[in-house]
């Protein structure tokens, strides 16, 4: 935990304080002052101490909101869940939403408003802004620039428009690395206007993904994952969809494909058979197919995808077009370029940066940092004192979305009111308040602004309804009729040369194409100070705490790059990687080389968001900054980059390096046709002993018998369950050094296995929590009975009783037990204490811990049901992993109830036990993967 939250200074200070207090106490021989805990004099209605309340709110990334329900314990938000009423969530949530609680309580958040590093009051900021605005009045605001991230908040957009009305010559720029410039430009190219595409996976039989990670990130991805997974149930074989994925970097979306992978740059004759088959399949499913281009692809590819969907008759069936969720869509790269040009020509007197960190995220060739210095007055609203704050005169601490009022649109346009759950911890201000400062009534609060915009009257029943539901009804966009100009010869769409990336067409020998992606965990760097996300093993690579130069094994071999597991930690911890130098556009970065099976050859993928130089203790020093070789002309790709070994090595913290099953049958998979022919084929080679093998009678589980079913076919490896579990169960962050030693603490992990060819592997995700074995090997070996079986079949863990022999973990064949090798939990930082779940023990040093099936949720439901003299209903208890899962892959319930979902799923033919041959009788079982492979392409 040393790495967390710069504890050195604080802890030393606390120690000294503690010591001097103690000494003072000794010398003075006085009694310590009595501290009284005052109970509620008037208990707030609805608030029962110990019982959480849930509030609806929403979190926006890249301007697009996901509706959330947030659990609040006595006024402290502790857990985020998806809002089932919200169309972008349907109750699921992503890692960013799950990690928002830690983001709120992050002790490194900037806590004071500063001017040139000195703490100033809000009124001083208002004064400075108003002085600057007054000076601009005669110029009609010609020197005013506002830089925001993507804005879907109707209130914020109207506030900005108001400011622009007051100062007609002022300009509004937008730059949001999490937003999708290419997709936006592609829609403009195809239709002549900005539109959003919304996919209807429930209608799509055949899907072609062109480097698109539509399940893993982007607007609506949670919703899409749910719809996509719902059509992958082989029990309804006729409804199974088929996904073709062509990817420049294997993603969790592509892992679920039924066939095909490859590389956009060199997609030549060898693959023509594949292409023909895909084309045939798409043609055969006119109106029931879908072509999706990835965010990293140039606009021309997006335009082509639009044209293909139109030609295939998919528009209106598997996808619809609507107006954009963003209030004011622009070409953001052009917008940023304009801003830089204005800055450089000295036109900017006042630059207000609302959120974002452009100094870090802007492509290197724009030299944004240099340009920024030319604005006369610079103000920056941000959660952390980051790279941009350092170059700004005024730094305003931003309120977290759980601290402030706002509004935002979901991917389909549905508006949610963002309501706060707690007063700003550090007096942070929201974007609304900063913009209000630029209006004629600077002192309006965000709450008033939102209500004013939505014209809430005295009688605010509707408003209360919106807050309660988390959605404003009837605000979803209606589909728009747009037509792609396919036959127009002037249009660049059919033009081959426009499709080819000019840089990648000619690549000198030894050169690689570098593709830039937002990091799957920390995105563009905005979550870089979030320990849960930093320590989250990234999908596919399983790397934590760093980014890397990702290449195929063949490319690494041509470089003669070595690298492999170190002895400390090894395959489950520490990978020694060669450091390479990537040179593109005359700039060079150094990063650790990491091989990814299934990555196309002769190109490299680097994730953005690392190599931060300011912005919190955790953000610092992790990885390298790939923005340094990124240019504004090709923000997603850099062709012709040179890659060479430096001779240095670097330790990467990787939680899984061995991805082959070694014939051990951890994941079972069939093709759809095989499954239809004989569903029992799943159990081929199964050596599970009969239940009669023991001399003892079976323990009769009366009452509840908890079990879980995990569908490998549905899992997309998105990690939401991992962070959800971490948040629910107070799981500590251990830091890179400990992950290197193989000591990360996650109670549920997502194992990734490959099968088939190295160049084009089948990829399977297998979430592994504690199996709650009926014959648990851990229980018999514990010398003190600290882990024992409950009468409902839970493998209980008694932390108080554990002496920490680690024998249980040694004897656990699933290796799901986690040990507190050090005092991993931060017991000192006050803000982190607020975010913990009060229903779950905070474990100390030297004890073992593991998944409990969220026993606190089970007990809560039991208490409720017993009070109401009724059995617990199916679905009443949802474990944290289940609740977070967008693909509905995890189902928990009572196996004694034959009508429960989990009992039905475990009765399916696909059901199998992991390592069932050990006779552990796990309560968590898996549903085998069934891939809908095109018979023409075969296995």
């Amino acid at each position: 935990m040393e790495q967390i939250a710069d504890p050195v200074a604080r802890r030393t200070f606390l120690k000294l304080m503690g010591a001097s207090l103690a000494l003072a106490g000794v010398s003075a021989c006085t009694r310590q002052p009595a501290e009284r805990i005052v109970p509620y004099v008037r208990q707030p209605e609805e608030l029962v101490p110990g019982r959480p309340l849930f509030y609806a709110t929403a979190m926006a990334i890249g301007g697009v909101a996901t509706g959330l329900l947030v659990e609040s314990h006595e006024g402290r938000p502790t857990k985020v869940e998806g809002n089932p009423e919200h169309p972008s969530s349907l109750g699921a949530s992503d890692i960013y939403a799950q990690a928002a609680v830690l983001g709120l309580y992050d002790p490194d958040r900037s806590q004071t408003l500063t001017n040139l590093g000195e703490i100033r009051p809000w009124s001083a900021f208002l004064g400075a802004i108003s002085a600057a605005l007054t000076a601009q009045r005669p110029l009609k605001g010609a020197g005013i620039r506002i830089l925001t991230e993507s804005v879907s908040s109707p209130t914020l957009a109207s506030q900005i428009r108001d400011v622009l009305q007051r100062f007609p010559s002022a300009k509004w720029h937008q730059w949001d690395p999490a937003s999708r410039d290419a997709a936006r430009a592609g829609s403009k190219l195809a239709f002549g206007e900005f539109v959003d595409a919304q996919y209807r996976f429930e209608n799509a039989d055949v899907i072609l993904s062109l480097d698109a990670d539509f399940l893993g990130c982007g607007p609506g991805s949670l919703r899409y994952a749910r719809d996509f997974a719902a059509r992958r149930r082989p029990e309804q074989a006729d409804r199974m969809n088929r996904l073709y994925a062509i990817e420049s970097m294997p993603t969790s979306t592509g892992a679920g494909r039924s066939g095909g992978s490859g590389e956009p740059a060199e997609f030549a004759e060898a693959e023509s058979k594949f292409l023909d088959a895909v084309a045939k399949d798409l043609q055969a499913h006119r109106g029931r197919s879908l072509v999706i281009a990835g965010d990293g692809q140039p606009p021309a590819v997006h335009a082509l995808a639009h044209a293909m969907n139109q030609t295939l008759g998919n528009v209106g069936r598997t996808l619809v077009y609507t107006q954009t969720a963003e209030a004011e869509p622009v070409d953001q790269m052009a917008s940023l370029r304009d801003l830089v040009a204005d800055l450089n020509s000295g036109k900017v007197d006042l630059l207000v940066i609302i959120g974002g960190n452009p100094v870090y995220t802007a492509p290197a060739d724009l030299k944004f940092a240099d340009a920024l210095g030319k604005a006369q007055l610079r103000a920056h609203l941000a959660m952390h004192d980051d790279e941009t704050s350092a170059l700004s005169h005024w730094h305003v601490p931003e309120a977290h979305f759980l601290e402030t009022w706002s509004d935002a649109r979901g991917h389909d346009g549905t508006v949610s009111i963002v309501q706060p759950l707690i007063a700003p911890l550090y007096g942070g201000k929201s974007a609304h308040e900063v913009l209000a400062a630029m209006s004629d009534r600077p002192e309006r609060s965000a709450h008033d602004l939102i209500r004013e915009f939505w014209k809430v009257e005295k009688d605010d029943r509707a408003w209360r309804r919106w807050l309660h539901d988390g959605v404003v009804p009837n605000t979803a966009f209606t589909p728009k009729i747009v037509t792609a100009a396919i036959r127009n010869p002037q249009s660049p769409i059919p033009n081959q040369s426009a499709i080819r990336n000019p840089q990648s067409a000619i690549s000198p020998t030894g050169a690689v194409e570098v593709s830039f992606r937002n990091d799957p965990s920390v995105l563009d760097g905005r979550f870089a100070n979030n320990g849960w996300l930093q320590e989250l093993p990234k999908p596919i690579t399983k790397l934590t705490w760093d980014n890397a130069v990702l290449v195929s094994p063949a490319t690494a071999a041509t470089l003669r790059a070595a690298g492999g597991p170190a002895f400390q930690g090894g395959e489950h911890g520490q990978i020694l990687a060669d450091v390479v130098e990537l040179t593109a556009a005359g700039r060079t970065i150094r990063g650790a080389l990491f091989t990814v099976v299934g990555h196309p050859d002769d190109c490299a993928t680097v994730h953005l968001g690392y190599g931060r130089t300011r912005g919190g203790a955790l953000a610092l020093g992790a990885g390298f900054d790939a923005n340094a070789i990124r240019t504004a002309d090709a923000p997603s790709f850099a062709g012709g980059a040179a890659m060479k070994l430096t001779g240095d090595t670097f330790s990467l913290a990787c939680t899984q390096y061995h991805h082959l099953t070694e014939g051990r049958g951890m994941v079972r998979s069939l093709t759809r046709d095989e499954f239809v022919r004989d569903p029992k084929a799943v159990h081929e080679g199964d050596e599970t002993p009969p239940r009669t093998i023991t001399l003892y009678p079976d323990y009769p589980y009366q009452g509840y018998k908890w079990g879980m079913s995990i569908d490998i076919n549905a899992c997309i490896g998105c990690n939401a369950c991992v962070v959800g579990c971490q948040s629910e169960n107070n799981i500590p962050v251990v830091g890179k050094k400990e992950v290197l030693s193989g000591r990360e603490m996650h109670w549920i992990r997502i194992d990734t296995y490959y099968r088939g060819l190295a160049a084009n592997p089948e990829t399977y995700f297998q979430p592994v929590p504690c199996m709650q074995c009926e014959n648990a090997p851990c229980e018999v070996v514990c010398p003190v009975g600290a882990t024992s079986h409950s009468h409902e079949g839970l493998n209980d863990m008694v932390y108080n009783r554990c002496v920490g022999t680690r024998y249980c973990s040694d004897n656990c064949p699933y290796k799901v037990r986690r040990f507190n090798f050090f005092l991993y939990q931060d017991w000192n930082t006050p803000s982190l204490k607020l975010g913990r779940n009060p229903d779950v023990s905070v474990r100390s040093r030297g004890v073992m811990e593991k998944c409990t099936y969220c026993v606190q949720r089970i007990n809560e439901a039991k208490i409720d049901s017993e009070r109401e003299s009724r059995p617990i209903a199916d679905g009443e208890i949802r474990t944290a992993c289940q609740q977070a899962c967008p693909a509905d892959a995890i189902v928990f319930g009572n196996l004694n109830d034959p009508n429960s979902r989990v009992a039905k799923l475990q009765a399916e033919e696909r059901n199998y036990a992991l390592l069932g041959e050990l006779n552990t009788r796990p309560r968590t079982t898996y549903l085998a993967a069934v891939r809908n492979v095109n018979p023409e392409l075969g296995e």
Partner: protein, 465 residues
């Protein structure tokens, strides 16, 4: 008194190739035996080497103190243990020390019952070695726990919560087996010391010596009745200790055999562990006996007969151990179990293959030299081989524990282990503690049983005829 001894011929050379060497060099009388052994404790100047050695060993023992203090302050994380390798140096060292502790009781008890007179010269310090080894071993089960201050929960003591240990766990069996073994070994050793303590009391020149040895001698006067009861008690204790030789390491092997980890879950473990324990125990006795007899000129008591016999025991137990390795590998293939079948492959070709082959070299290949009499009668070679076997037996436990854990069932969880500084410092710290205790023993107690050696003399046999 030492000067009054009749110099004997170099016993190393005298008996090479001249039939079975005697267990005691000729020329000794009751008096010379007593003089020579008690002089080491009472009158001879403590050699400078003793101080130097004690200082060196003591500094390592101090390192152990530092390591354990740091361990308790910070946590198990200072070692290299991780998930999946939850046990590593800690349990390796534990099993190694317990194994070393086996020779003492075997020599004292079983050989006594089998009337192997040659045991007499070596049993005292072999027993002492046992005690110290068990003390070193005992450190690890205690301190390898995450919360050592609560480790007493492993004992069945009455408490207000009516909580008992979980008796199905082999760790509880360990607690009983090791504590019983430690108790019986200590008793056996102490009872055996009583007549000699009385000798020291009687011969001590200083008041402190007379008082301390006097108290420890518990009023021994050497009357016929004393001797009668002493013999009965000693024989009974020997009878008690004998099953422990087999049981302790059997129970220790259950720690692994009861587990389901491939490479642990093996029925051959109990006999194979016991053989291994005796193997390493005799190796350690040799490692200690050879320098001690050289430094203290005890070649006439610890003769080539002893060294040769111990070499033979090592050869036999080494062969049993080698057979164990072979059977383990064969059965894991023959079982057809994919997880078990992987174990030998991982050992032979996996990331730790070097250590496996080192183990085979140390424990199987090099000790085959003991087939040759020339090797068995060469003291330096025996010393080197005994050291190699000590290393080999440590590696055996490392291979069993770390290699099995690092790659078990799910390939996703495969990991590795590398020791940290604190792993090494704890291991060498216990070696330092062991050697320090041994130095104290050599200095303050008769390292060879005086009264038993006297029974080896021809004079003692008169009554038999």
């Amino acid at each position: 008194m030492a000067e009054s001894l009749q110099p004997v011929e170099d016993p190393n050379r005298a008996y090479v190739g001249a039939g079975t060497p005697p267990v005691i060099a000729p020329g000794h009388t009751f008096g010379t035996v007593t003089d020579k052994i008690s002089a080491i404790v009472l009158t001879r100047r403590t050699p400078l080497g003793w101080y130097a050695g004690f200082l060196l060993a003591g500094s390592f023992a101090f390192l152990l103190l530092v390591s354990l203090t740091y361990l308790v302050t910070k946590g198990i994380g200072i070692w290299g243990n991780n998930i999946p390798v939850g046990w590593a140096f800690d349990i390796t060292n534990f099993v190694w020390w317990i194994g070393i502790g086996h020779a003492g009781t075997l020599i004292s008890a079983i050989l006594l019952l089998l009337k192997q007179t040659w045991r007499t010269s070596i049993n005292r310090f072999a027993e002492a070695m046992t005690l110290f080894a068990v003390a070193c071993a005992g450190i690890f089960p205690l301190f390898h726990t995450g919360r050592p201050w609560l480790a007493y929960w492993l004992f069945p003591y009455p408490n207000s919560m009516s909580l008992w240990p979980q008796f199905r766990s082999p760790l509880i069996w360990d607690v009983f087996a090791v504590s019983t073994y430690a108790t019986v070994s200590a008793l056996f050793w102490y009872v055996g010391l009583i007549p000699d303590l009385a000798t020291l009391r009687d011969r001590s020149q200083s008041r402190a010596g007379r008082v301390i040895y006097g108290m420890l001698a518990m009023g021994w006067r050497g009357s016929a009745r004393h001797w009668h009861r002493y013999d009965t008690a000693y024989l009974l204790l020997a009878g008690l200790a004998t099953p422990l030789v087999v049981s302790v390491h059997t129970v220790v092997s259950f720690d692994f055999a009861i587990g389901i980890v491939p490479g642990w879950h093996t029925t051959i473990f109990p006999p194979y562990f016991v053989a291994g324990a005796i193997y390493s125990g005799f190796a350690m006795v040799l490692t200690l006996a050879i320098p001690i007899r050289a430094v203290y000129n005890l070649e006439d008591f610890i003769t080539m007969r002893h060294l040769q016999n111990m070499a033979k025991v090592m050869l036999v137990t080494g062969l049993i151990v080698a057979y164990g390795y072979g059977t383990e590998a064969f059965i894991s293939w023959y079982s057809g179990d994919k997880y078990e079948g992987f174990v030998p492959m991982n050992r032979i070709f996996g990331p730790y293959a070097f250590y496996y082959w080192l183990l085979i070299t140390c424990n199987v290949i090099i000790p085959q030299a003991l087939w040759f009499k020339r090797v068995r009668t060469s003291v330096p070679v025996l010393f080197v081989i005994s050291l190699i076997v000590n290393v080999g037996m440590w590696l055996e436990r490392f291979v069993i524990i770390v290699l099995s854990l690092s790659r078990d069932f799910l390939t996703s969880s495969w990991g590795r282990f590398a020791p940290t500084f604190w792993d090494w410092s704890t291991l060498f710290g216990t070696v330092g503690l062991f050697v320090s205790l041994l130095f104290l023993f050599l200095r303050f107690l008769p390292m060879i049983s005086i009264f038993e050696i006297r029974t080896l003399l021809p004079e003692a046999k008169v009554s038999d005829e």
